[in-house]
Amino acid sequence: MDQSVAIQETLEREENCKIAVQCDVLFDDIAESRLLGLVESAEEHAIFIYTHRRMAITADDVSLEDVIPICLDFAVVEVSSPEELAVVGGDTRVRVSYQEEELELRLPFGSHSRLFLGEVNRAWSDVCKSPAQVPKFEWINKYHKGTRGQGVVKQALTPLSTTLNKLSQHRKTEKSSDKKGTSEREKGSNSGTQKSRLPSSPESQGISSREDRDDLVRSSSHTPSNKAQILAMPQFGLRDNLIRCELLKNEDLYTYLEDFSFFLGTYNVNGQPPKESLSPWLSHTPNPPDMYCVGFQELDLSKEAFFFNDTPKEMEWTKAVTEALHPDAKYALVKLVRLVGIMLIFYVKKEHAEFISDVEAETVGTGIMGRMGNKGAVAIRFRFHNSDICVVNSHLAAHIEEYERRNQDYKDICSRLQFRPLDFTQPPLTIMKHDVILWIGDLNYRISDLDADNVKELISKKEFETLHSYDQLKRQIDEEAVFVGFVEGEIDFQPTYKYDTGSDLWDTSEKCRVPAWCDRILWRGKNIKQQHYQSHMALKTSDHKPVSSLLVAGIKRINTEAYKKTFEEIVRNIDKMENECIPSVTLAKQEFHFKDVKYMQHQAATLSLFNDGQVPCQFEFIQKPNESTYCKPWLTANPPKGFIAQGGSVEIELEVFVNRSTAPDLNSGKEQIEDILVLHLERGKDYFIPVTGNYLPSCYGTSIHSLCHMREPIQDMPQETLRKLVEMSVKENAANTEKPLDIPKELWMMVDHLFRNAIKQEDIFQQPGLRSEFADIRDCLDTGMPDSLPGSNHSVAEALLLFLDALPEPVVPFSFYQQCLESCSNASQCEKTISMLPQCHQNVFNYLAAFLRELLKNSAVNRLDVNILATIFASLLLRSPTKQDLAEKRKTQEFFQHFLTQGST
């Protein structure tokens, strides 16, 4: 029976009793029954504590005793005493604390209690999520005033305990105070009480209690963790990267080296147009090279070129180069890149073109302001077969004393020149990331510490080796100040700078420059050999002489077969890894069987999940198609979803509980205790968990009609007969083989028992019975026909109420409900309505009314009156097929009162 309905009736419209639970409040050795309601208003929550009589049905049955706001100072902690080991099926003991108040509660075993605690926790964790928003709980104030007088309960309100809370003490003192105190009290509730009640600021909160809460929140709520999802999620981009990495790592397995020749040429043309054939420079090798990388500097010294990066010289020089390439082969121009006067052209022999890919070009200016393009570098990168190659043509800072500036230019180029990555997930590609780097250009390093005449003399004697030791570049490389890791071949040609244009004469201008090896070719990478390194004196267009070099480089070629094998192996391994990362759990038990399931009797079993996978996992019971919930209504799994760390385990409680809504079909055999749970792991497998059991039919949840046709206890009836009885009641006209009983014998046994034993029982129908005694009474009714029933009078009385409550069709059938409401003010109309009920229902109604009238004759002793009985029984006998409002409820009571007073008139 949902007792939150009774609580709801006491609340304001905007307040909502989310869930209610009956529990025992523990004080030393005494336990008293209370009803707890979790009440919500404007997203604030409070626990309302009510005293109550028996199972609360209406507002009259409950009386508010205390309100505990759920704020930061609130805590619920599960208590387990050492002697009471946690047993499945045991009661739950919790300690509720609020500020300095403490309350120990014993909640009945079962999912309903768990649900209640879960809701309370959720409310509390909502508060904790936004500690800045201190809840005000203004809506509670009105209850603080009212708690005292409102109770309908006739017995004196028992104070819960002295340790329970200061508030109840406060209230006690209030109670003892006379009317004079009213104003004070009101003041108190507005100022004093309110102050103590209102949640204090977060910082006043004790650390220990916060930890307690966190623990509880952790254990009770199943926090869905994104982490698990992320870890278990196959990231497809990641997958591709993994394959790429593995392929790179195992490159040796599927590649072999093949030599290719690279012709490198660099020429500072001093702004001159091409005036002579470049053949002596570009095609002097006996065999045509596989690649040409030709670089120019000072292609155009005009302002237009500088400011607009536009020059007709690009075309002119490109044409001159193209015409001068080796005549014995065909070449394709793959890429040209230019920054002001720095140009690089890349040609490839036609037959190699198809193996060139991922071509990119970039430029970096290091000139004026460190940015402009009068100095700097251009570069082209490409992939040839399986090798990544980068060619750089640079023009570094001029002037003999500026060698450190040149070093800096080199560093700037290395760091600032970045190619677009092949894959956007990769970082940009820098020069140094390439397998082969070819660096050419007017690097502008000079010969220092010697005067021009000395230098010229050494040159004329061809004492180049002596001169090398004065070469700034060689010195800087030796000091590892620049071009670290680069190699330069032996220079045995005379310096290429500076000549009088059109001649082979050294600079005769007044500056009379010291000759220098400005124009250089360097490389970095494995398996590279230099075939030649030379200057070309024949060309006289510029004040520089062009330089060339032929390098033979070992390029990685792919062995298709081996590549396929390696690739497949890598993919296989990654698949394996991925399969191992699919979430997985082991179930301690695959199948569950519940034996002898009875009406209103919990049975529970534990499903243990162990995460034996390699990742954390998230589990959830999922719905089967065409079903609205993940399991049958008589079954619950707690928790129904959650998270298990790798190697961790979780215990899920499977509970079977048959209540009045599920009992009818189980009694008749239309439904069985049979279900298959589908446990789903996020991004993983699904497990099927069959749940079976046998249900012992009960008179609880069986129709009056069926019971009237049972002369034997229900559990002695064959299943077939039970099923037929239900079918029979559908088509009423079926020929009855046997005259039915006037009223169900079970009802008679209970009423007769009460009539004989409890007619003078004080507070009969007002005090709750005992759960264990109810179970005995139920078993007794379902299995035999004893002379008397077990248990106390209160328990039998409650068993009777539960019986009426469990009837699938109430005593006054749903179809008559409306008629009853309409006739409620007229006694004879009421009687007439009852006379139209099906015979067995009519019998039951009259029988109960007669019994209640008997009870009322003893009202002096049993303290019952017409009002109380009408309230209790009207709600059981006249149930609305839909939702009942308060006005209707009053009408049903009015209706039934006629029958309680009948005898006296």
Binding site: F236, F424, N579, E620, I622, Y630, I676, F688
Partner: protein
């Protein structure tokens, strides 16, 4: 250089309990064989990557519980499959008879375009054979399916069977694939790759929610 792209397919193993569905899967993905029979109670899956016509095809193979009591539940997994293996045991006439029932369930619950292949497993157990190869061939012909006799134990025809069904699924979805390939340009192809999930499984977006049958 053409950018590789992935395709994801879901293949489903169906057939009576004990015909060797789990063993076929283990042999194919892990190249392992475990002779003891542990009933699959639920739905399990494994991933495998194949390269077919230069296309990287990732297949997700679902292994289902064969026991009759679970069939109402397992049927709900059919609709997400692009390919289905109907597996029987050549040493069990009964499991072969049941192929008809499995096939009709597939017709009812799987998508129309689903590709099917008939598999007679345990071909190594020659002495216990109850279903002749010709019977399998005949049945497959009647249904218009390809047919393989396999042995997870000896690794006979395993890769062939899985590859064949994957090829069929690829062919059946060729139109969609070609459209996709055409719509891919340099800028977006990587993004499309990331959304591999969305490829070829209609309504995949809606299936990401909780309680889904994936």
């Amino acid at each position: 250089m053409a950018k590789q792209y992935d395709v994801l397919f879901r293949l489903l193993l169906l057939g009576d309990s004990g015909v060797g569905k789990t063993c076929l899967l283990c042999r194919f993905t892990d190249n392992e064989f475990h002779p003891s029979h542990i009933s699959t109670i639920g739905v399990d899956f494994k991933m495998k990557t194949l390269v077919i016509d230069g296309i990287k095809v990732r297949i997700q193979i679902w292994d289902t519980a064969g026991q009759e009591r679970y069939q109402t539940i397992t049927k709900q997994y059919y609709r997400r499959a692009q390919g289905i293996f109907l597996v029987y045991d050549i040493t069990s006439e009964r499991s072969f008879q049941h192929i008809m029932k499995w096939a009709s369930d597939v017709d009812e619950y799987a998508p129309d375009k689903v590709q099917k292949i008939l598999v007679g497993n345990k071909s190594d157990e020659v002495d216990k054979r109850q279903v002749a190869t010709e019977q399998g061939v005949k049945l497959a012909k009647a249904y218009g399916m390809d047919f393989f006799e396999t042995s997870a134990f000896t690794n006979h025809n395993i890769t062939e069977t899985f590859t064949r069904l994957a090829e069929q699924v690829l062919a059946a979805n060729k139109k969609d694939l070609d459209l996709l390939r055409m719509s891919i340009n340099d800028e977006i192809n990587l993004a499309a790759l990331e959304e591999e999930e969305g490829l070829l499984c209609d309504g995949a977006a809606g299936d990401q929610g909780k309680g889904c049958w994936c």
